[in-house]
């Protein structure tokens, strides 16, 4: 292990060690982190009727085409990857003209209400004036054209979340100041409707008599986002990406926010109660109790059966944000699995504090880990299972460790009670697959000796 990485890693124990986080990745460490642009793109991409235009070289658009498994109830425009495809000439002479023309062409072809223009590394260096070009295009077409300041080198993925939130703040700003709030109306921040997750929560809330004004950004549209300032409460799931937006909306529009999580049964129940309480809605609180007891009655027996099956198994977690890691620790606890390693790419100090409080002594906590560290700690700790993204999957499999996909592209929801069951089922399908027995019994190394 590299000396320079020591301060990013801690073992939970009696002496609490503050780990270093939210710092630049160390060169050559094979960080699993993505870039500013990717952070911005994943937050904004679920806006379904927007044109998402990458101002930059083709790779940036290619690697993020239809990147999220966000579902739409309407437009599918967001699933296209548009790019100005900058070439050497543009880098030398500037890409401004090309960008203006690209916006013109897209506006004429698709008539979108809004165009998001993402800045990439080279645009930040060659200095195309995105603001001016977007402003002029907006006037030409009578639509909103919003720049996203997401040049890759200005920070890490978290800087991209912030860039996306800045753009969202511009988008939701009403022409006239809004004073009237829709009573009992809430915005749901930080759900990207992966595999329909936001729809599950919408259904729960409707059942207890609460309407979601707009989800930011899962299955959202330009029109719906415009109504965001009218809500009387913001609930926030993915804090890593949305904390900044929520606090800004409180500051500007006086909308208070509460943190919730619909991942796992425990969090789902707590969140429903919190929302009802946050709105001071007693009827909703009563209905929430009914919903919770009905769903627990349906779900708990199934979860209990899995608990028995999973007894004694150990899990490792390596995901993008701290919120996700915290939820996963709780979810594993619900199904009786001990967590022996937790890491994130972009977790924040307060999230690491929560993680430290949640896990048992001896658990490894690490920030911005690399494959060599993941390998070492998973093997040292005897993990049977890893949760992570696409890049981590083959590593786990090569080590003979089961794997849970917790990536943007998943095809089954992990939210609410349906999600809790899906999660347990996915754990079952990988942890209890006969393939591991076959591999153990197969004793490939003995065959190699024959």
């Amino acid at each position: 292990m590299l000396e320079s990485r020591q301060e990013f890693i801690a073992t939970k124990g009696k002496q609490k060690k503050q780990i270093k986080c939210d710092a630049d990745s160390i060169a050559g460490c094979v960080s699993q982190r993505a870039c500013v642009y990717s952070g911005a793109r994943v937050v904004l991409n679920p806006v379904t009727d927007a044109v998402h235009l990458v101002h930059g070289p083709i790779g940036c658009a290619s690697y993020t085409w239809d990147i999220r498994g966000s579902l739409s109830s309407g437009s599918e425009l967001y699933r296209n990857s548009f790019c100005t495809d900058l070439k050497e000439q543009d880098v030398i002479f500037g890409g401004g003209k090309k960008l203006a023309s690209a916006i013109d062409e897209l506006a004429a072809k698709y008539h979108p209400p809004v165009v998001f223009v993402y800045s990439t590394c080279i645009v930040g260096v060659i200095g195309d004036d995105l603001e001016a070009i977007c402003r002029a295009a907006a006037i030409r077409h009578g639509i909103e054209v919003l720049p996203v300041q997401s040049s890759g080198f200005i920070g890490n993925k978290a800087a991209g979340y912030r860039a996306a939130c800045d753009t969202l703040l511009r988008l939701i700003e009403p022409a006239q100041p809004v004073w009237a709030k829709k009573p009992g109306s809430i915005n749901y921040l930080g759900d990207f409707n992966l595999a329909g997750e936001a729809w599950i929560i919408e259904q729960y809330l409707r059942e207890i008599g609460i309407d979601i004004n707009v989800v930011i950004t899962g299955d959202s549209t330009y029109e719906k986002l415009k109504t965001a300032p009218e809500a009387s409460l913001n609930i926030m799931q993915c804090a890593g990406s949305m904390n900044y937006l929520a606090s800004k909306m409180e500051e500007i529009y006086g909308i208070p926010y509460i943190r919730i999580s619909f991942l796992g049964m425990e969090d789902t129940a707590a969140s429903l109660r919190q929302i009802a309480a946050g709105l001071g809605d007693e009827t909703a609180a009563k209905k929430a109790e009914q919903l919770i007891s009905r769903e627990i009655a349906n779900t708990q027996p199934l979860i209990d059966r899995y608990r028995e099956k999973f007894a004694g198994k150990k899990a490792a977690i390596y995901v993008g944000g701290g919120f996700k890691a915290i939820s996963l620790i709780k979810q594993f606890r619900e199904i009786g699995i001990e967590v022996v390693m937790v890491g994130t790419q972009n977790g924040r100090q307060e999230e690491y504090d929560t993680i430290n409080d949640l896990v048992d002594d001896g658990t490894i906590i690490l920030d911005d880990a690399n494959p060599a560290e993941l390998e070492r700690f998973m093997l040292d700790k005897g993990a049977h299972l890893l949760v992570g993204g696409v890049k981590e999957r083959p590593l786990a499999y090569k080590l003979g460790i089961a794997f849970i996909d917790h990536n943007h592209d998943r095809k089954h929801p992990l939210s609410g009670y349906a999600g809790a069951v899906n999660f347990a089922q996915e754990v079952n399908s990988t942890l209890c697959s006969p393939v591991w027995d076959t591999i153990r019994k197969g004793g490939h190394s003995e065959w190699l000796k024959k």
Partner: protein, 457 residues
């Protein structure tokens, strides 16, 4: 052009290609014990690793110099030095390739100088360190692959005594394809250096303990001696001379270059075998002749079904050329042949391959999937052949996709797709024929009912 088609001039709508360093990584992964560092911002290496990992289902480690704002303004030499130090410590590679990205090239980093100084400072003059300028805004991943392969030779190959090996230079094809080519070479009794050889590093057997860097691939010592080979047989008819590794060996060391198409399709495979015969004087072994005979037999069995095929072929130029000509010889009419790369040679070669009086073939270079879709609908295509980007054609235009090439992101087994050689061609052809049959079976009852029953009643 039909009036209903609408193309944007200054927008790429759904890319059909990736960027230069992506191809560079794949080429470097084919060298034994290699590690790659991308000089640029962190995201580039992560995205490319993600794509490659998903295609091959293998762990893909690529370092990054992780340039931040400071490095961008004041230069990234320190970052690159640290990256080299750390990668050497953790991976102990036998060879390192440094690829640049948009960012490094835009701020004008002199990577060659850095690399040279690093070697001197650390007493690593003999350590194989390869640099390749691969700005993402330059050309596509295809040129990135070929150019990096050429750079590997430029940096490592030295004048060598003559030996009896043949250099076999391959495009970015699947590990299964590479293994098939090796099998054919071994059956024929030919000694060879296959370059770059990803067949083991990117399709590893399950083994314990896991090692971060495999010792598998083309050996650096073999690369050093490619200058002394009898000849180079390169599957690169679409490759420009400036990017061509085979051309470099011929120009610099006088190794005769035989440039042949990728051996998919009977004619293309025959050309490969003929070139081998010319170089080595060895005859085609009986078992391969049997395979050839079986392919002929299969081509006859399927010819009527194939004649109903109207194909869209897209992807890397070399693959598009081989697949399009393979379709032509089997009566599958190519409606669109497309690549996101510039490749002027592809267009020229394909025009020459079209038989007299055949229906027009729309050749698209530097194109995107929006154009491909519109031309495919215009030409009444009923089968698409190419990488995962084509799922868009499947979804939007209902054209079934046969997955081949790179990347395959939405199915497992991209690394196992076999299409070269007589046997591989048969497998490819069966996939085409069976897709056409399946498509027909799904729709013909309804079609007949609507066309005849509804008309009569």
């Amino acid at each position: 052009m039909a009036e209903k088609m609408k193309f944007c001039r200054d927008v790429n709508e759904n890319p059909c290609n990736m960027c230069m360093p992506m191809g560079g990584i794949i080429a470097l992964k084919g060298i034994a014990g290699s590690m790659v560092i991308l000089h640029g911002s962190q995201g580039c290496s992560t995205y490319m690793r993600r794509h490659i990992a998903e295609h091959f289902n293998e762990p893909i480690d690529v370092g990054s110099s992780s340039l931040n704002e400071k490095g961008t303004i004041y230069g990234g030499e320190k970052n690159l030095e640290q990256a080299l130090d750390n990668v050497r410590k953790v991976y102990q590679p036998q060879m390192i390739g440094i690829l640049t990205t948009c960012l490094a090239e835009t701020i004008g980093e002199d990577v060659d100088r850095f690399a040279g100084e690093y070697q001197r400072k650390n007493g690593l003059e003999d350590f194989p360190l390869v640099t390749a300028p691969t700005p993402g805004y330059g050309l596509s991943h295809d040129e990135g692959y070929w150019f990096t392969a050429r750079r590997i030779l430029t940096c490592l190959t030295k004048p060598a005594d003559g030996h009896n090996k043949v250099n076999i230079i391959v495009p970015n094809i699947s590990p299964a394809d590479i293994r098939e080519i090796k099998r054919i070479l071994e059956l024929t009794g030919i000694e060879y250096t296959l370059f770059p050889d990803i067949s083991d590093a990117l399709d590893r057997p399950f083994e314990r303990p896991y090692t971060k860097v495999t010792g598998k691939g083309t050996l650096v010592d073999e690369i050093k001696a490619m200058s002394g080979a009898v000849a180079t047989l390169q599957m690169g008819v679409t490759v420009e001379d400036a990017f061509s590794p085979g051309q470099y060996l011929q120009d610099t060391f006088g190794v005769p270059l035989y440039n042949v198409p990728l051996p998919i399709g009977l004619t293309n495979m025959d050309r490969f075998m003929t070139a081998l015969q010319e170089i080595t004087g060895k005859s085609v072994p009986d078992s391969l002749l049997q395979e050839r005979g079986r392919l002929l037999d299969g081509m006859i069995d399927s010819h009527k079904y194939n004649f109903q095929g109207r194909g869209i072929i897209f992807g890397d130029p070399e693959l598009v050329y081989a697949l399009t000509t393979a379709c032509l010889e089997n009566g599958v009419h190519p409606v669109v042949a497309a690549t996101g790369s510039r490749s002027e040679r592809l267009a020229k070669l394909l025009n020459l391959s079209l038989p007299d009086g055949s229906e027009p073939l729309q050749i698209l270079t530097e194109t995107d999937f929006d154009r491909i879709r519109q031309w495919s609908e215009e030409g009444g295509a009923n089968v698409a052949i190419g990488h995962s980007g084509g799922r868009y054609l499947e979804e939007q235009a209902g054209i079934p996709l046969i997955r081949i090439g790179f990347p395959i992101l939405d199915r497992v087994g991209g690394q196992r797709i076999l299409s070269v050689g007589y046997g591989g061609t048969m497998q490819f052809l069966d996939r085409v024929t069976n897709t056409l049959l399946e498509h027909k079976h799904k729709s013909y009852r309804k079609k007949m009912y609507e066309q005849f029953y509804c008309a009569a009643n």
